[in-house]
Symmetry: C2
Subunit: 191 residues, 2 copies
DNA sequence: TCAAATGTGTTGGATATACGACAAATCCAA
DNA sequence: TTGGATTTGTCGTATATCCAACACATTTGA
């Protein structure tokens, strides 16, 4: 809608920084990566880093959000309906993302990563619910979106701790517990 | 020596433009490539193109020079001696370069490309001769460097028209004709 | 042939990035 | 523990890039 195109210099520089960060993450642990490392790898000035990010934790946030967002957006969930297939695909994206992270070195930042994943999920669910029920008050969608995101993330934690089946099978069993609470009628009641 | 490091923004932008140009060259003929095409592909502003290049022919010059220079520099000829091995390797680099160009579409610009190759050769030979005979007047090296470059380029034309043997074999036979005229003693006599 | 569309080259003002410097914080070896 | 070395954030100034607009040239299609 209000697509205000951003300066290409900003897009380029953000990508340079994030790509360098991801590249370095495959070689070092997060705690050993300095901002100087990143800017040297990206061939940009250190001051420019601070033009885009507050500090290295801010970068971690935004870089991981970006990666997860790209993973989730390749099917444009924000414009699709909420049903079993959608939830299965999103769940698969989350577990894929977490497995790709376990190959990189972010030990000690598991809870940060958890928060990032859940926040992204909340954004996606909020948009999906908004598309599905455009005549509802947007405020009323925040609570169900949050609960859905917590629920699905919690399921991913369960699966990681005890991966008895494939992610797809695993979440199909769990969907009734999640979805039961947030169908259309319930949201209307909340409102 | 006087290595004044250039602004990283300039290096980045030049690379973006040249890479986009080379990419487009593999899809279209040169005459069909517009500056707008290039800047769109490179995601840079069209005005920025003119900050770096006079026009599209200037870009053709510099892009091809750059590619050939990279090909030739991987062995740092400028710091090595002039002997049979060196000449063979350089000749191979030229024929490789020409064959890579024939896959791209630069029909009608063969003589421009010829000039670019020869000029690069002249630069390389000038440096090599300078290293080999540092006590000679630099001016005296210009003529032999030019003659060597014309000679080797001419040999590449001959080979392309009639590739009876491999480039390596071909140039080994021709080297006596080229090198005979520009050995150390002859340069001193010219001087 | 003409008119519309597209590409070229240039300009002025706005903005992002580079660079060097700085004090403060953190790291690390002696 | 100390002291040097590295990293972090921040700043002011210089410069590269963006953007919109312009006149002009070239291409295209009816």
């Amino acid at each position: 809608m209000t697509e205000t195109k951003t300066d290409p210099r900003i897009l380029r520089t953000r990508k340079l920084i994030m790509d360098s960060f991801i590249e370095l993450s495959s070689k070092k642990e997060f705690k050993d990566i300095t901002i100087k490392d990143i800017t040297t790898e990206a061939m940009i000035n250190r001051a420019t880093f601070y033009y885009h990010f507050e500090d290295i934790y801010d970068l971690l946030d935004k870089a991981l959000s970006e990666v997860l967002f790209v993973n989730l957006s390749c099917q444009d969930f924000a414009n699709s309906k909420m049903n079993e297939d959608t939830l299965v695909t999103i769940f698969k994206a989350i577990t894929d993302f977490q497995m790709s992270l376990s190959n990189r070195c972010h030990r000690g930042y598991e809870d940060t990563i958890a928060r990032i994943i859940r926040e992204q999920l909340e954004v996606i669910f909020y948009k999906m619910l908004g598309n599905q029920q455009p005549n509802l008050d947007k405020e009323a969608l925040k609570l169900p979106a949050a609960m859905l995101s917590w629920g699905l993330y919690g399921a991913s934690v369960e699966w990681r701790n005890n991966p008895t089946t494939s992610p797809e099978e695993f979440i199909k069993v769990a969907i009734p517990y999640i979805q039961g609470g947030v169908n259309e009628n319930n949201i209307k009641n909340i409102n």
